[in-house]
């Protein structure tokens, strides 16, 4: 048994297998059950430790050699595997209700495997290549074969591809700066190259236009999956850089840059959401704002930054899943999902309407919802550093809140006499109801996911200790 085989090769094989099936339900069961099983294995069976099961001895080896390089998954990465595969199962089980199971699950499994490989590959710099391959695989997911390709997907492809050369060059230069850290000119060159690379990958302001364009062009659920997984992997890759290079980790300028970039993302995302009339684009702005929050969490520094960053993961993925599933429900009957077309729809689609509004409010950090505890910690941390930063954080949050209130107002603005109905399918009702329940559960009892989250930083040798 070998960890990379279990968590990388098996999902890749399954991705190929599931693409052969035609029935959405079979694909959902296969994909969802496998990812859940993989999450369970990573939770229960430690890597590189012999387990005696009766007369048998079981041990999962941590590494695999491919073309002279190693792919290593240690026990430190297990919480990350549990979270990633667990959340992927959540996305896959909702795929049928969103009507994208046949497209999402085969491609999603392959992307997931590649992104896990990007965390495990050594040297870690090669992750840039794997992320690029994952981005290429995402194109058929974001551009359905029966629809002419739009500007969003083309821009996505350009930005993700351009990122790779910059990061690989920067990585090569970083080896040189380790030998002579006092070379200021070299450090500046590295900063520019790395900054450009990550700006393209993470859709940093002003390079996030593809998110907004795609939010209008494609299935919200498919886009939501990519917007959950791709930035997460890139952020983990970025943390890898900080973990490997001391001068980056200890650079006050990097903290400043992260803070400014994070605030720029949060404020522009928040203000965009406040004035947006297209529900998909509004979700896109919220994703931009949440990427900003992740950057702000990393910029906190000290012992708090990495735990806060990881605390953001689950509420973000859960909220995004509910939000995009609800949007997909609307997209099946109303196109485009603009304010004028969804007006009063809360009476006809109460679950989807509740999903959109509550996911939006969770992104804002309203008490009782999953996003609240971590936003409180983050805001408090930022206010200890600078009141100005905390103020702009508040502006961004206010923008998101304005977007949520406007959406709520439009959705409930039904003509007098409209009867309450539930036009969602039973599957959509069940999934949305369950999701909203978990959103409240995590808001009321955030400590229930803490045992897994607490060990996530251990994947990083320096940052996590």
């Amino acid at each position: 048994m070998n960890a990379p085989v279990i968590w990388i090769i098996v999902p890749l094989i399954l991705a190929a297998l599931t693409s052969l099936f035609r029935r959405g339900r079979v694909i959902v069961i296969l994909g969802g059950a496998t990812t859940l099983l993989l999450a369970g294995i990573s939770l229960l069976i430690p890597i590189d430790t012999a387990l005696a099961i009766g007369p048998l001895s079981l041990k999962i080896a941590p590494s695999l050699q491919i073309l002279g390089r190693r792919i290593v998954l240690n026990s430190g990465e297990q919480p990350l595997l549990t979270i990633t595969y667990g959340l992927a199962a959540f996305w896959f089980f909702g795929a049928e209700a969103a009507g994208v199971a046949r497209r999402l699950i085969p491609v999603g499994l392959a992307i997931l495997a590649l992104l896990v490989a990007s965390v495990a590959v050594q040297p870690f710099l090669y992750a840039a290549l794997l992320i690029e391959i994952a981005a290429l695989l995402a194109v058929p997911l974001l551009s359905p074969p029966n629809k002419k390709s739009g500007r969003g997907v083309v821009r996505f492809l350009i930005y993700q591809t351009l990122a790779m050369p910059f990061i690989l060059f920067a990585g090569w230069l970083l080896a040189g700066v380790e030998a002579s850290p006092a070379d200021i000119a070299l450090v500046a060159q590295i900063a520019i190259l790395l900054g450009l690379g990550f700006a393209f990958l993470l859709a940093i302001f002003p390079l996030y236009t593809w998110i907004l364009l795609l939010a209008e062009e494609t299935s919200s659920y498919a886009l939501g999956f990519i917007l959950w997984l791709l930035p997460l992997t890139v952020e983990l890759f970025g943390l890898g850089f900080l973990d490997h290079y001391t001068f980056l980790r200890e650079s006050p300028r990097l903290v400043q840059a992260l803070q400014v970039t994070g605030l720029l993302m949060l404020v522009t995302g928040g203000l965009g959401a406040a004035f947006e009339r297209h529900l998909g684009r509004l979700m896109g702005y919220a994703v931009v704002a949440q990427t900003g929050m992740s950057l702000l969490a990393i910029s906190l520094g000290g012992q708090n930054s990495i735990p806060v960053f990881f605390l953001l993961l689950v509420p973000h993925a859960l909220g995004l899943g509910i939000w995009t599933l609800s949007l997909s429900v609307f997209q099946h009957t109303l196109e485009p999902v603009r304010f004028n077309t969804v007006q009063g729809m809360a009476r006809l689609f109460p679950f989807a309407s509740a999903g959109i509004v509550l996911a939006n409010l969770s992104a804002v950090g309203i008490p009782l919802l999953a996003g609240f505890p971590v936003r409180l910690v983050l805001w408090e941390g930022l206010s200890e550093q600078s009141l100005g930063v905390a103020f702009w954080f508040g502006i961004g949050i206010l923008g998101l809140l304005a977007g949520a209130i406007r959406t709520l107002a439009v959705l409930v603005m039904a003509p007098t006499g409209t009867q309450w109905q539930t036009r969602e399918s039973w599957q959509q009702r069940m999934l949305l109801g369950l999701g909203i329940g978990v959103l409240f559960l995590l808001g009321l009892f955030p400590q229930i996911i803490y045992p897994i989250i607490a060990n996530l930083p251990l994947a990083y040798e320096h940052l996590g200790h």
């Binding site: 491919i66 073309l67 002279g68 390089r69 090669y126 290549l129 794997l130 690029e132 391959i133 290429l136 695989l137 194109v139 058929p140 551009s143 359905p144 074969p145 029966n146 629809k147 002419k148 390709s149 500007r151 997907v153 083309v154 492809l157 350009i158 591809t161 351009l162 790779m164 050369p165 690989l168 060059f169 090569w172 230069l173 060159q189």
Partner: protein, 201 residues
């Protein structure tokens, strides 16, 4: 000395092909120029890599071009990538290409100092492809043109990176990315509603 002359010839070929890609309006010419571009790239990569590994770049590039060619042949005649803004567009592109060329000429010695041991022709060839590819990406949104631009950018990057990194895994992944880009391009070119045939009518 002979190698130096051939290397500079390859670099000049890259200038011609990349500018040609930028101004050509016929997709057949574009794909032909791409094939020649990979020949020039092969030679410059060959300076640092063994023949077998450098040949991978050439074969992959040609495979990518073939995939795009086969897809494009199968498409209707009216879905061409011709630009209609002649003569202004072509003139503008030539001027922009000249600007990129000037920037590359001035930057080559500096980059050569930062990345010693690569050699001026490889640095020049790499930068010219990178620059022209970026320019190409900046002025088009059509899928075929975008893929050609991205393949050009990647070729430029690969010429320089070959001197820095000789890993087989990286070579394999980059080959996969080039092929993947071509396949994605083919997918984007063919994506769209099914055309109504007589039978379906």
């Amino acid at each position: 000395m002979l190698i130096e002359i051939i290397s500079w010839t390859a670099a000049v070929v890259l200038v011609v092909t990349s500018v040609g890609l930028l101004i050509s309006r016929d997709w057949r010419w574009s794909l032909g120029l791409l094939a020649v571009q990979y020949l020039g790239m092969f030679w410059l990569v060959r300076l640092h890599w063994p023949l077998a590994m450098a040949a991978v770049k050439l074969v992959t590039g040609w495979m990518a071009g073939s995939a795009l060619n086969i897809t494009r042949i199968g498409l209707a005649k009216d879905s061409n990538d011709d630009e209609e803004a002649w003569p202004q567009a072509r003139l503008f592109r030539l001027l922009a290409a000249a600007l990129v060329l000037l920037v590359v000429i001035s930057a080559t010695p500096r980059v050569n100092n930062v990345l010693p041991g690569i050699g001026l022709p490889a640095v020049f060839g790499g930068l010219i492809l990178f620059g022209m590819g970026l320019l190409h990406l900046g002025i088009t949104i059509r899928p075929l043109r975008v893929i050609l631009g991205l393949l050009t950018v990647l070729s430029g990057f690969e010429i320089i990176y070959a001197a820095l990194e000789g890993s087989v895994l990286v070579a394999a992944l980059l080959a996969g990315i080039n092929l993947g880009l071509a396949l994605v391009g083919s997918y984007l070119l063919t994506a769209g509603p099914e055309p109504k045939t007589e039978e379906s009518l």
